[in-house]
């Protein structure tokens, strides 16, 4: 077991806990640099992981840190995507400027949602953002001069500073760079007064206010920042999918983002990224399993005779090839996570690392959940 030995206050301001953690992240970064060579067939999925990671960070700021649960993030993603494509293709603005403008437009939309949201808390706020998502989707459909309406809008490949980034490898690095930048900026905010104020609002509005936090300003700020990040993610997302249509930005996408932060672990940036890996890679895993599992089960049951093996194969095959199985499995996993691991993937990861770092002395009850007694112990 390692103990962080602290000798100066500056140590608590660092991005990493200690040298070991920093080196681990450097190793991870190097691994991500060589990954395109190792698994070229999964590059597209990995880029999507990074884009979803940015979405996860965005929603984590709002839901995980400020405590404002939003179902409107699909709309922010859509606004970012359409705005970026409109600026870059229809108006011919340089790529980087178009991304910045998309972020600005989305942040402005975030402020617009945030302002009425100040008077609402909890589930009412979620309903309001849900309404926003539905309205914006309608706007995407009707405003065809900008969005192309139901016919959709093709997206050209990104050209950054005159460099065409059409190739999947270069797009992979572009997304990685944006995710790292997003994580860096967000962790900067979280170790500053702004981040503390957000956490304070999440845990007790009345106390935050009595300590000098202007609720209106900080909630609006959280909405604007979260939406701005979503705008950038939207710009990348537009290039990723290559074709924009209103039905992509449905409420289901918002729910997927929410699932991402909940499964990843609310209240940690790690969680946002883990959630993104989970949500973006699960369909890949499911589709692989779809082909592999029936064959595999068929082989296992073939010990009872060739006929049995073939029967099991066709039975399982017919079951997994059913349409709509994927959302079902998604939902099932979400329910199981909430039941057994409310701290999410990140919580599970911390338990595993603690187990190994304290190995023979790990106490089973360390993370045991129990009914709380004091009012102030209840989760709100």
């Amino acid at each position: 077991m390692r103990f962080a030995f602290k000798t100066s206050y500056a140590q608590d301001l660092g991005l990493f806990r200690d040298g070991v953690q920093r080196n681990a992240y450097i190793a991870l970064f190097l691994a991500l640099l060589v990954l395109p060579r190792l698994v070229p067939e999964y590059l597209g999925d990995l880029s999507l992981v990074f884009i979803y990671g940015l979405c996860g960070v965005s929603l984590m700021v709002l839901a995980g840190y400020t405590g404002l649960v939003s179902l409107g993030h699909s709309a922010f993603l859509g606004i970012g995507a359409y705005a970026h494509v409109y600026f870059a293709q229809d108006l011919g603005v340089p790529w980087v400027v178009a991304v910045a403008l998309a972020a600005a437009v989305t942040a402005a939309a975030g402020v617009l949602v945030g302002l009425p949201a100040l008077r609402m808390t909890g589930v009412y706020l979620t309903i309001a953002t849900l309404a926003f998502a539905l309205i914006i989707q309608e706007v995407f459909t009707r405003w065809d001069r900008v969005t192309g309406g139901l016919k959709g809008k093709p997206v050209q490949k990104a050209v950054v500073f005159g460099l065409p980034l059409g190739h999947e490898v270069s797009f992979y690095f572009l997304c990685l760079a944006f995710l790292i930048a997003g994580l860096w900026l967000t962790s900067n905010l979280l170790r500053s007064p702004t981040g503390r104020a957000w956490v304070a609002i999440r845990d007790s509005e009345v106390a935050a206010q009595s300590m000098g936090v202007n609720l209106a300003v900080y909630k609006t700020m959280a909405f604007a920042y979260s939406a701005g990040l979503m705008g950038v993610a939207g710009a990348l997302f537009a290039h990723k999918i290559g074709f924009l249509a209103p039905d992509i930005f449905s409420v289901l996408l918002s729910i997927q983002f929410l699932l991402m932060v909940a499964v990843g672990g609310l209240g940690s940036l790690h969680g946002a990224v883990y959630g993104a890996v989970f949500v973006a890679m699960l369909p890949v895993v499911i589709s692989q399993a779809r082909d592999a599992v029936p064959v595999w089960l068929g082989q296992v049951f073939a010990v009872f005779g060739r006929e049995a093996g073939r029967a099991v194969f066709s039975l399982v095959d017919r079951f997994v090839k059913q349409p709509g199985l994927e959302p079902g499995i998604f939902g099932l996993i979400l329910v199981l996570f909430i039941l057994f691991e409310p701290l999410g993937v990140y919580g599970r990861w911390r338990k595993i690392t603690l187990f190994f770092s304290t190995f023979p002395l790990y106490k089973h009850a360390t993370f045991k959940r129990q009914k709380s007694y004091m009012r102030s112990e209840r989760l709100r």
């Binding site: 206050y9 608590d12 007064p193 956490v199 845990d203 007790s204 300590m211 000098g212 936090v213």
Partner: protein
């Protein structure tokens, strides 16, 4: 210049007049205590001073300025910090993070600076940290510094809440039942701390309290309320012996 004065404070909740014509003055360097049976309106006075409620009538003056209509987040910037009866800490944050939030009224960094974590933000953060550490040292919270609030016992939470309020470097500290839920020894510690806050830090204390031993140990002036009306004002001894106060507590 009046340091703190409440004049004819009144508030209605629907048809109930929770406070009616409450006036008192707190002089700098005093420990001023408000006592009264349950529902007398003690915490309501605190919520009026920290501007969570709007008074229906009356005036609040602090340092010569009228603060009756100031917005709630402005109050700590003027130099008033408070604790809560039922503990309103940020439970999923560490003691240090909680205490640091007390520095919010002294925030001087801007959003864009924080986004990039410029050297100025780092320097300001270190300054905040130093101020927070002084309070942690003052209240003996060193060993809890990095623990989450959810894992701390009730008594420690009370102290952490006081630390958070002290971190705002207030001129006037509002303590809402500092001894509720504390053991006898913890209450004695609390009395010492309140005295230290007054004499060493020079902070004026306005407090609501039930425990008469604590009240008589630390208070300079005591105001007794019943049904939202003041019934006695004076030293702890005078108020305790006042016939109306005895009647309010014992009935008759």
């Amino acid at each position: 210049m009046t340091f703190f004065e409440a004049e004819r404070l009144a508030i209605n909740f629907g048809g109930i007049r929770a406070l009616d014509g409450v006036s008192f003055r707190v002089d700098p360097g005093q420990v001023f205590t408000i006592i009264g049976p349950n529902g007398a309106g003690k915490t309501t006075i605190f919520n009026l001073v920290s501007r969570i409620y709007d008074p229906s009538d009356g005036r609040l003056t602090f340092c010569g300025e009228d603060i009756t209509r100031v917005s709630p987040h402005e109050i700590p910037r003027r130099g008033i910090a408070r604790t809560f009866q039922n503990i309103e800490l940020f439970e999923h944050a560490t003691v240090l993070q909680n205490v640091l939030l007390g520095r919010h009224a002294h925030r001087r960094s801007r959003f864009v600076e924080e986004l990039l974590f410029l050297p100025r933000v780092r320097a300001l953060e270190l300054e905040h940290r130093e101020a927070a550490e002084k309070v942690i040292d003052f209240l003996d919270l060193q060993r809890y510094r990095d623990s989450l609030i959810v894992n701390l016992p009730y008594g420690v939470r009370k102290v952490v809440e006081m630390a958070r309020a002290l971190c705002a470097e207030p001129k006037l500290l509002l303590l809402d039942e500092p001894s509720s839920g504390l053991s006898v020894e913890e209450t004695e510690d609390m009395a010492f701390w309140i005295q230290d806050i007054r004499t060493l830090l020079g902070i004026t204390v306005l407090m609501v309290e039930h425990d008469m031993s604590l009240v008589s140990a630390v208070s300079d002036r005591v105001l007794a309320l019943n049904y939202g009306r003041p019934i006695a004002l004076g030293t702890a001894r005078e108020v305790q012996d006042h016939p109306d106060v005895i009647k309010a507590y014992l009935g008759g």
